[in-house]
C-alpha cells in the first residue's frame, strides 16, 4: 500500500481542485502528441494530426484530453487504493486499446509540464515531488493488468 504524507494528500487535492480540466486536459494530450509524435499511433481516427497547429485545434484531441484528465479523478478520490480503482481501466488499455505502458509516463510528464506552467511559484520542488509520486502510482496501477 502506498503511504501518503499529509502534505502529499493536501497537495494532490489542492492541485486538482484548482486546475481547469477543460484547459489542462486538452493542452496535455495535445502537448504529448506534439512532443512525442509516436503516441499518435493510438489516434488514427482522430483526423488531422499533421502538425502542431492541427493537433492543438483538433476537437477530438481536446475532448479526449478532458476525458483522460477526468479519469484521474478516481485516483484523486481513492488515493488509498489506486491499484484496484484502476484494475478495469488497466485491462481496457491492455486488452482493447493496446497502449504501450511506457506512453503513460510520457503523458504524465506532459501533464507535469502543463501544471508547472499554470501554477507559477506555487509549483515548488516539494509540490512537484508529491504530484509526480501520485502520477507514478497511477501509471503503475494502469500497467498492472498487462500480461
Amino acid at each position: 500500500m502506498v503511504e501518503w504524507t499529509d502534505f502529499e494528500r493536501a497537495t494532490i487535492q489542492d492541485i486538482f481542485s484548482k486546475i481547469d480540466y477543460d484547459t489542462v486536459g486538452p493542452a496535455t494530450l495535445a502537448r504529448c502528441l506534439v512532443v512525442y509524435p509516436w503516441c499518435q499511433r493510438y489516434f488514427g481516427n482522430f483526423g488531422n494530426l499533421y502538425n502542431a497547429a492541427a493537433i492543438k485545434s483538433n476537437p477530438m484531441v481536446a475532448k479526449h484530453g478532458t476525458t483522460i484528465l477526468h479519469g484521474l479523478d478516481r485516483a484523486v478520490k481513492n488515493m488509498d487504493d489506486i491499484k484496484s480503482t484502476y484494475a478495469q481501466l488497466s485491462e481496457l488499455h491492455s486488452e482493447k486499446l493496446h497502449v504501450d505502458p511506457d506512453n503513460f509516463k510520457l503523458l504524465t510528464d506532459c501533464l507535469t509540464v502543463v501544471v508547472a506552467g499554470q501554477m507559477g511559484k506555487d509549483f515548488t520542488g516539494e509540490v512537484q515531488a508529491a504530484f509526480q509520486k501520485f502520477l507514478a502510482v497511477v501509471v503503475s496501477a494502469l500497467g498492472r493488468q498487462y500480461h
Partner: protein, 111 residues
C-alpha cells in the same frame, strides 16, 4: 531533481546541504546549465563539442546516463514554470529533442 528524484542525491553525498536553494545546489545548478548553454554553440556537432564533458562524466563522475533523462525532464518543468507563455508544445518538442541529443552526446564516451 534532488527533491523529486531522491536517488540522484547519491551523487552529492559530499555536500553539506542538499536542500532547495542551498549554496552548493545553486552553484552546481548554475554550472550544469552553463554546460547545457555551451552545448548550444556546438549544436551541429554535439558529440565533438561535448567530448571532454562526456569523458568527465564517464570516467571521473561515473554518472549513470539514465539520470540525464531525469535532469532533462526537470529542466523542461522549470522552464515551463518560468516561461509559461513561451514554452509552447512546439518549443517544448524542440527543446526536449535538443536535450535528448545532448544526453546522447554526453553518454558517448561511456563504452
Amino acid at each position: 531533481m534532488l527533491t523529486v528524484y531522491p536517488q540522484t542525491k547519491t551523487y552529492f553525498s559530499h555536500w553539506s546541504d542538499l536542500s532547495i536553494g542551498s549554496g552548493p545546489v545553486k552553484a552546481h545548478g548554475k554550472k550544469v546549465m552553463g554546460g547545457v548553454a555551451d552545448a548550444v554553440a556546438s549544436i551541429d556537432d554535439l558529440t565533438g563539442g561535448l567530448q571532454a564533458k562526456s569523458e568527465l562524466h564517464a570516467f571521473k563522475l561515473r554518472v549513470d546516463p539514465a539520470n540525464f533523462k531525469t535532469l532533462s525532464h526537470c529542466i523542461n518543468v522549470v522552464i515551463a514554470n518560468m516561461f509559461p507563455k513561451d514554452f509552447t508544445p512546439e518549443a517544448h518538442v524542440s527543446f526536449d529533442k535538443f536535450l535528448a541529443c545532448v544526453s546522447l552526446a554526453l553518454s558517448d564516451k561511456y563504452r
